[in-house]
């Protein structure tokens, strides 16, 4: 495995951000979190109205990371075999019939699952194994997918006709859910000016697959205080209204809480965030900042929260406040 200097970590991330910003105007926080997710080996669900640059962001990233990229447009008639591939029958040179596995578009390093909620649950489920285990099983044969592997899915929060909301098991496999806000007037101006020159992505290669893996390995050694781990786990468990260790916020506003994957994701991504921030240890600040993209698609708010016009992020803020008091 490629050896990487610690001092290079933050520099490389800064460079990636700069490159992506050449193609995507604004969306600083989204870009920042996408990089964290990629380095942590997690999948990202991007939510935003059409035209805010979801697809462009992913394409730009693939160029910067110089990774094989597949863009899959999810539609209601998309079949699992269209994603993962299938066994095909072919004749060899002697005229003998053989089966051969034809890899689908999923066999890439960076997958853009565009409008994922338009595909049927059957097709969505085809992604479960590949997102979690980074492997595909066809006819009792398991095929490993080359690392690093990421799925970046997009969905439109407005247009819900003819869509199939992602099941909870599928949602839980996304490390982050990032919301792309509509750009400001200044950003809109910059977008228009930029696209007058060229519509193509101009980002150049900064790192490659092995470097990403080296960065990931390096981040694993970042020390985390036991108190911080406890705090992160408490944050997750306190989101469950049915548990004894629940919080008042959960009892009042949450229908069901986050899964243990949220706890894992909090610690893994906190280490990367710490390194990006130029620290060599995880802080409470990292956990708090990452709670929003990690928990917002994993906890389900109830009618009380909707009635009081509280968003999922508001409830997470309340959860953090309540847990902060205790530690």
């Amino acid at each position: 495995m490629k050896k990487l200097e610690i001092s290079e970590f933050a520099t490389l991330v800064k460079k990636i951000k700069e490159e992506v910003n050449k193609d995507v105007v604004g969306q600083e926080e989204v870009i920042y979190n996408v990089i964290i997710a990629i380095l942590a080996g997690g999948n990202v669900l991007l939510e935003g109205v059409p035209g805010v640059g979801k697809t462009r962001l992913v394409r730009s990233l693939s160029q910067t990371l110089s990774l094989p990229f597949s863009r899959i447009q999810f539609t209601p008639d998309l079949m699992p075999s269209d994603l993962i591939g299938m066994n095909i029958i072919e004749k060899d040179e002697q005229g003998k019939l053989n089966t051969r596995f034809q890899k689908g578009p999923i066999f890439a390093n960076l997958i853009l699952a565009d409008e994922i909620n338009r595909a049927t649950p059957k097709t969505q489920s085809a992604l479960l194994e590949v997102m979690q285990e980074h492997s595909v099983t066809v006819s009792n044969q398991t095929y490993k997918i080359a690392e690093p592997f990421f799925v970046m899915a997009t969905e439109n929060p407005i247009e819900q006709d003819g869509t199939y909301p992602l099941p909870e098991a599928q949602m839980d496999r996304f490390m982050f859910k990032l919301v792309m806000e509509f750009p400001s007037n200044e950003e809109l101006e910059s977008i228009v000016n930029m696209t007058q020159v060229t519509m193509d992505e101009v980002a150049t290669k900064i790192i490659d697959g092995p470097t990403i893996l080296a960065m990931r390995a390096l981040a694993k050694d970042v020390p985390v205080l036991p108190e911080i781990v406890t705090y992160a786990m408490k944050l997750v468990s306190s989101s469950h209204p049915e548990l004894k260790v629940t919080s008042e916020v959960a009892k009042k506003y949450i229908r069901y809480g986050a899964s243990p994957r949220a706890g894992q994701a909090l610690i893994t991504t906190a280490k990367i965030r710490a390194l990006i921030e130029g620290r060599f240890n995880v802080s409470y600040e990292d956990i708090d900042a990452l709670s929003y993209p990690i928990l917002r698609h994993r906890i389900k708010i109830n009618y009380n929260a909707i009635n009081e016009h509280l968003s999922c992020d508001d409830v997470i803020s309340l959860l953090i406040q309540e847990n902060k008091k205790g530690h």
Binding site: I6, L218, D221, V222, P223, V224, L225, P226, E227, I228, R279, F280, N281, V282, S283, Y284, E285
Partner: protein, 310 residues
């Protein structure tokens, strides 16, 4: 103790000492107030200097216990430094992971040392939480409250009616009247009012001084048709052989004494028999005793004396 902490240690220990002092003094004051209150409740009234000594001793013990038993360790100091200088858990991590197993841990330590070098000890405030002040206020309130606990005059000596109390003898408005009395001075008939005014009396048994306002004890010599009258030492009071004259009329003197004695024993009257009354009674008993000795057969006065002595 890590080198990086040395410059902060002094100030943190000073803060710890102040906290120990506040809490120790509060506990010492509460302890002293409890003793003070308890002593007052059981009727022990000691010199105030005694309580000051208890307070100083208890406070010193509590301060020492708090200071030495809860001295801040490396983790506490690290946490304090992180919170004060916003070091984002750098110092705590350095303390928690002392080994140099990998490059990141080494870098982490270097980074933390650099951060601590840039921290000014003057910016480390002495922070005493509100809880310490509250404990001090509570202690002061308890001490003040203990002064309002009344001194119990009865508790340890309730069985002894002669101790530690005062008697307002004016309540005894008894007119001793000689009736059918035998005069010590033959031929002299006691008549007229006798006014006895007592001054300050000392209870010899308790060793304490009690002030008694005896008031007036009027010994009205009425119906003194008898020649056997007893005249008191001052020559103004006369009383008879075996009877007294009270508001209710003539009564056996022995019954009056019995009633009076019972009242003392049952606590209805607290205190000593006033000296003036005692003198009168003593004189009376003495005369009756002499008389009975002469008569040989009359034992009643001796019984009364015996009962009184019991």
């Amino acid at each position: 103790m890590k080198e990086e902490f040395k410059k902060f240690r002094k100030k943190i220990l000073l803060e710890h000492l102040i906290k120990a002092l506040i809490l120790g003094v509060s506990l010492g004051a509460i302890f002293t107030a409890l003793i003070f209150g308890a002593f007052k409740l059981i009727g022990i009234d000691l010199f105030f200097i005694f309580y000051i000594l208890i307070f100083l001793g208890a406070s010193a013990i509590f301060v020492c216990l708090l200071y030495f038993n809860h001295q801040p360790d490396e983790k506490n100091i690290a946490k304090r430094l992180d919170e004060t200088y916003l070091l984002k858990e750098k110092t705590q991590t350095m303390v928690e992971f002392p080994s140099n197993d990998n490059e990141i841990l080494i870098k982490q330590k270097e980074d933390t040392k650099l951060s601590l070098l840039n921290c000014d000890t003057k910016k480390l405030p002495i922070m005493i939480s509100i809880g310490y002040y509250i404990s001090l206020v509570i202690a002061i309130l308890i001490v003040l409250g203990s002064f309002f606990i009344p001194l119990n005059p009865n508790f340890p000596f309730k069985e002894d009616p002669n101790s530690n109390s005062s008697l307002d003898s004016s309540s005894i408005d008894t007119s001793l009247v000689t009736s059918d009395s035998t005069s010590i001075q033959d031929g002299e008939q006691g008549s007229g009012d006798s006014e006895v005014e007592s001054g300050d009396l000392t209870s010899a048994e308790s060793g304490e001084t009690s002030e008694i306002d005896s008031g007036d004890i009027d010994s009205a010599s009425q119906n003194s048709d008898s020649s056997n009258s007893i005249q008191s030492g001052d020559g103004e009071t006369q009383y008879g052989e075996g009877h007294v004259f009270t508001k209710d009329g003539f009564t056996e003197l022995g019954d009056v004494i019995d009633d009076y004695y019972n009242q003392i024993v049952e606590g209805e009257i607290q205190g000593n028999i006033p000296d003036d009354l005692e003198d009168i009674l003593d004189e009376y008993f003495k005369s009756l005793y002499d008389q009975s000795k002469n008569n040989e057969g009359n034992t009643e006065p001796q019984n009364v004396i015996k009962r009184r002595r019991q």
